[in-house]
């Protein structure tokens, strides 16, 4: 019964896409499960096997006279995505659009083309401003506002968005051990490392209150809302860059709940001692 219902829904989605995207240049097997508002059909191109999902808001594709709005094949759109092109918006293949993503190439002051490479993933309520370029395979986090260039295979977080390599966020495939033959650039004591971590927390998250929040070295950084999971990764990257060490990320990310300041002190100072 559910198999039959799925087949009917699939056939309906194909028919609905043909109806709603009439007049645009669209490829084969485009599916549409919900409502799409389409304006300026002549300039819109939708690649084959693109899917538009249903939800509480309609998806909006708007293309002014003489502008172009090109969507590559095999992309997926969640509900409420809004794309408005005054000059040019080009989207590559295999992109994933979360709900309520906004893309504009005109913010009322300037008009600049926007281009997204293949395999870009925009999470819920990401906003892409005019003149943005997003590289292949990059991820834009939920609620981020991008204005500028995001390099390939990186993650853009925050408002305004800052980028970090995807490898820093991705769980590593094989355990990363110490790199051989690289001398430690800076020799740090436990106090220096502690000061660096507190300074970093002050700069990025707690604005002068970090020292009072960390009452002892053994307080869990995750449990008390001092640090989110992404922050833990950012902290690891910061320590590696600053002290020229290579931390065992497997060990750190395996049990993120239990990580305290002491763990980091042990790891950074420990690697230093092992080398010297």
């Amino acid at each position: 019964m559910s198999g039959l219902a799925d087949k009917v829904a699939a056939a309906l989605s194909l028919a609905r896409a043909r109806l709603q995207l009439r007049g645009t240049k669209h490829g084969a097997r485009v599916r549409c499960h919900g409502r799409i508002l389409v304006h300026g059909r002549a300039g819109i191109e939708v690649g084959s096997r693109t899917t538009f999902l249903a939800g509480i808001f309609p998806t909006e594709l708007r293309c002014e006279n003489g502008a172009e709005l090109v969507i590559g094949p095999n992309s997926t759109f969640n509900y409420g995505v809004s794309i408005v092109a005054r000059r040019s918006i080009r989207i590559g293949a295999r992109c994933i659009f979360g709900s309520l993503v906004h893309i504009r190439d005109d913010d009322g002051r300037r008009i600049a083309p926007v281009s997204l490479a293949d395999g870009v993933w925009l999470a819920h309520r990401a906003i892409i401003e005019p003149g943005s370029t997003i590289g292949e395979g990059s991820v834009v986090a939920a609620g981020a506002v991008v204005s500028g260039t995001v390099p390939p295979r990186s993650m853009a977080v925050g408002n305004p968005a800052r980028c970090m390599p995807l490898e820093a966020v991705e769980p590593p495939q094989a355990p990363i051990t110490q790199r051989d033959g690289e001398p430690a650039a800076v020799r740090a004591s436990r106090d220096e490392v502690r000061a660096a971590i507190i300074e970093w927390l002050d700069d990025t998250r707690h604005f002068g209150e970090a020292a009072s929040l960390i009452t002892s070295d053994f307080v869990s950084l995750r449990r008390n809302g001092l640090l989110d999971s992404l922050g833990l990764v950012q902290l690891v990257v910061m320590l590696e860059e600053r002290f020229g060490v290579s931390l065992d990320r497997d060990l750190l990310l395996a049990n993120p709940e239990g990580q305290s300041l002491n763990t980091f002190l042990d790891l950074v100072a420990g690697t230093k001692e092992a080398r010297s």
């Binding site: 309520r125 609620g143 809302g225 989110d228």
Partner: protein, 169 residues
């Protein structure tokens, strides 16, 4: 005993006319009187528990409460949910009593795509929102926990534990 009280009548009306789809009413457990305005979507096969005196204001934008297979959404007594809010549960989302969820909030307990292999959905992490907490146009990602009376301001993105009474702007 067999009289249809005003409360019961309203419960039936809520089941039949506001919480959709119509024939999925059996998986929605209503504890008492529920005030519903505008359009409310409850797609998905999971369970939905709505406590006493919950207000769902689906205006000007609709509310989406989507519980996936084996997932459940628990909305405790006296919660206010405003329009445009979307809650998706693949395992569990709990909203504590008397909390207020502002307009256009998004609450997710799964990212649905992993950073490495996008076709492989990652593990769900349950979301717990404490009593008397306040959310305004925020995004709650997997792993978000709010203590009692915590607040997340507009444009706030939370994916970690927020202590009781703390505020994330």
């Amino acid at each position: 005993m067999w009289q249809l009280s005003g409360v019961t009548a309203r419960r039936i009306a809520v089941r039949l006319f506001h919480l959709r789809p119509l024939f999925a009413g059996w998986r929605v457990k209503l504890e008492g009187d529920v005030f519903v305005k505008g359009k409310n979507w409850t797609p998905g096969p999971g369970r939905l528990y709505i406590g006493r005196g919950v207000r769902l204001i689906g205006e000007p934008a609709p509310i989406e409460l989507r519980a996936h297979e084996e997932g459940g959404i628990w909305i405790e007594d006296g919660v206010l949910i405003e329009g445009g809010t979307s809650i998706e549960a693949t395992r569990s989302v709990r909203v504590g009593a008397r909390s207020r969820i502002g307009p256009f909030c998004k609450i997710l307990d799964n990212h649905f795509h992993a950073v490495g292999d996008r076709r492989q959905p990652p593990e769900s992490v349950p979301i717990v929102i404490g009593e008397d907490s306040l959310l305004g146009r925020a995004i709650l990602l997997p792993g978000a926990e709010m203590g009692a009376g915590a607040r997340v301001g507009p444009a706030g993105v939370l994916s970690f534990h927020l202590r009781a009474g703390a505020e994330l702007a």
